[in-house]
Symmetry: C2
């Protein structure tokens, strides 16, 4: 029931706040203490990183990670542990290299973009035209682009703003007859480190191979181009897409004591790109979510609703896991009380983006569609704020409009309220999709704080009287 | 004459300060204005980086850089432009790679250490023992080191403190029968970036091959070792040292109007490692020094003493250029009024380390011997401070005890007062000796400020009545 009038709104906002705080203060303290002292979660993340490593959809190591994850969930005493099957795209990189042939010979460290087609076996050798924007590309026109390799070297304006050149540059260049694409790595900080990531071919446009080169080499070629110095590059990529592979989501839960059919789901994605260790993207997300639930279990807490952890598969190059989970639920999606995703690394947690609705929805990752759903009520948002206050001691409870993530986007589209973990994130983008996304980047105290905030949020959402999305 | 008594010391310090400031304020302003507006220096540095590139001793590109430098000095109107011959070590890297074979197969991005011997053509395959210190190595003893590859993964305590493991780790491990050495890259910040650098074999100890791996991979192997997981690595390096090569220092000057035989020399090193572009190490040093002199020439300034810019060769793996310059001078070294070196990158200049003497001398680079020479008088140091005040507008005039650099160390050992450029240096060590030491790291305003401070300091030292080292 929608309330109106200043006084009523005031009370509807303030009274539950006091209730939630007083009701869950002690248990939150207990959960936070356990999380901040926990070593098991870090050990699990280290195992995933060091002993299994990166895990691209279709790879053996992904399946190893999935089986290990299910076994760990069982070890932790979770129930209903399952690995429901998901068909995933199976892209393989193969050998690849890029070499500048003129004006001097220089190896260009690179990573082919995920889902790119390969080159012919002998590679592609072509002159390079460099542009900073799609406008500059259009201004060149077919005459100057035909038969060339196009380098996109846009000014870095942040991941969300700049990733469009990685995502669609290949097709945009192909429309003008380009034979290959290079793109500056999607980062603002580089130590000669190439960043991979997915591309999306536009239907009906010729598929041409595309790779990311380092910020340094993109800048070099751009400077040479501005100086009128012709640049020639050889690009060789064996990349190809095989038939879809068999894979799995992973899930386990604490069954609700009163309303087991109602579910708070939390998780991240178990797949990663085929480089580094996928430590922050998204090993830390899945393991923090899992460890949050494992700690609730260890503490013997019995939430009224079910808390389920899910490791979605194939976030990086398809999103099949998130869609399959949604499809698996069918009508039961309406019983999902909230969906929480952590997919931005395990730096110091600031809080959560929360929302269900319309204008408040925003993309939290490059792959997440910005699906409009029903608007979040002010009272529902205020409740999220009040829950966040339970996390004030560790600084992880700030609620901002937003929410979501690529894996839970299908749930949000079905009307499930979404929370997306937000962190300080000062360095996440330096590492992600690179060989440097490794366990040494995980700061134990920050990882533990993320576990704490996920555990408190999911427990309160699962235990409090109202479904958060229904508070009006 | 050494003065005594508080009043006299006071006056001897204060009066010249006022003199120096009033005498050189206007010309300093003019020099600084010209430097801050200058584009030519940046264009020269860009050419050196982009069109010539890295330039290891013995390489064709180094000789190209040397010839280009001499031609640019002539173009700038410098006199006595020379390229005196210097024999330099000729180490070549060849192909190289390292692969972890157990517990999983993983490529280890690496760079062989400069002057390392190579492996047999089939490489070396051995179990790895990991240590954090020489004490840990000694504790293992011959039994556990014999036949192994030793990984040094010390805690990063800064370049000066930690580089000892790169410099002497190979010989220390060889003493215990190790067959190869890996060392964590010498940096506190890594994005999966290997850093090369020179090693020094200890005489009489077997020479074994040594390479730097990334901070990430060193940490991984260290974690595995701590967990009792055996690690096996294959190391292949074609590195070898050829007969010494013919190379050159480069020098040019503005001849002094009154005491041309007295010389203020400034410069850096023209060689670099064989990766990246040597932009900050030390392209920016040589070009900033050159441009400082070029601007004085362009402004038509006529210092009383000669100002000479020198691009010393072979700083990175031998120091032959600095020694050859000293030898070339013979007795004329006593006419060198001051030596200024810039070899710490072109980040925002803070000031200079200044000193000639004893306890005040310190290493400013890993390769610089800490040679004790005659003590700097308080009055001489105060004069440096007073000259520094002319740079207060650009923040580059702070004088601290110290001074020097690897290339001017032989001059300082001969009693020449030394100045070493000191910069903010927040990121120099992230880049140096890596593929990321490239022109994009040069911030134009900061480079120009370095040119300004070198130009003012060298002009005043060359023009003021006293030789700075003689002020007592």
């Amino acid at each position: 029931m929608k309330k109106s009038g200043a006084l009523l709104v005031c009370c509807s906002l303030l009274l539950p706040a006091a209730d939630i705080e007083s009701q869950y203060r002690d248990v939150s303290k207990k959960i936070i203490e356990a999380a901040l002292a926990d070593q098991e979660g870090l050990d699990r993340l280290q195992y995933l990183c060091d002993r299994i490593g990166h895990r691209l959809s279709g790879s053996e190591s992904l399946e190893k990670a999935i089986q290990w994850s299910a076994a760990e969930m069982k070890k932790a005493g979770l129930t209903n542990v399952q690995t429901p099957p998901v068909k995933v795209p199976h892209w393989v990189r193969g050998n690849e290299y890029a070499t500048m042939l003129a004006p001097t010979v220089k190896k260009l460290p690179m990573l082919g973009l995920g889902m790119s087609v390969g080159t012919p076996p002998e590679g592609i050798t072509a002159d390079v035209v460099t542009v900073a924007s799609f406008d500059e590309l259009a201004a060149l026109g077919k005459e100057k682009v035909q038969g060339k390799i196009v380098l996109f070297d846009p000014v870095w304006e942040g991941y969300g703003q700049t990733v469009i050149y990685r995502a669609t540059g290949a097709s945009r260049a192909a429309e003008l007859g380009a034979v290959g694409v290079l793109v500056r790595s999607m980062t603002g900080r580089s130590l000669a480190t190439p960043h991979t990531g997915g591309l999306n071919y536009i239907a009906g446009v010729a598929k041409i191979p595309a790779a990311a080169i380092t910020v340094e080499d993109a800048a070099l070629i751009h400077r040479l181009a501005k100086g009128g110095v012709p640049v020639k590059v050889k690009l060789m990529m064996e990349a190809k897409t095989l038939p879809d592979a068999d894979s799995h989501n992973v899930m386990g839960e604490i069954r609700g004591s009163e309303k087991p059919e109602e579910v708070v789901v939390l998780g991240g994605h178990i797949d990663s790109w085929d480089i580094g260790q996928g430590a922050n993207d998204d090993g830390s997300g899945v393991i923090a979510a899992f460890q949050a639930v494992a700690l609730l279990q260890k503490l013997g807490l019995k939430p009224k609703r079910t808390i389920r952890v899910v490791f979605w598969v194939n976030e990086e190059n398809g999103g099949a896991g998130g869609r399959a989970y949604r499809a698996m639920l069918g009508d039961a999606a309406k019983n999902h009380v909230a969906a929480i995703e952590m997919d931005g690394g395990a730096e110091k947690p600031l809080g959560f983006g929360y929302g269900t609705g319309g204008a408040q929805r925003r993309r939290t990752t490059a792959n997440a569609p910005a699906t409009p759903v029903k608007a979040t009520s002010a009272a529902s948002f205020q409740r999220a704020v009040d829950i966040g206050k339970l996390l004030s001691g560790i600084g992880g409870g700030q609620m901002t409009p937003g929410g979501g993530g690529a894996d839970i986007a299908p749930l949000l589209a079905a009307g499930v309220p979404g929370f997306g973990v937000q962190t300080g994130g000062g360095h996440y983008n330096d590492w992600h999709h690179t060989d440097s996304d490794t366990f040494d980047k995980i700061v134990p105290s920050e990882f533990r704080a993320n576990v704490a905030s996920l555990a408190v949020l999911s427990f309160v959402l699962a235990d409090m009287p109202e479904r958060i999305g229904d508070i009006e």
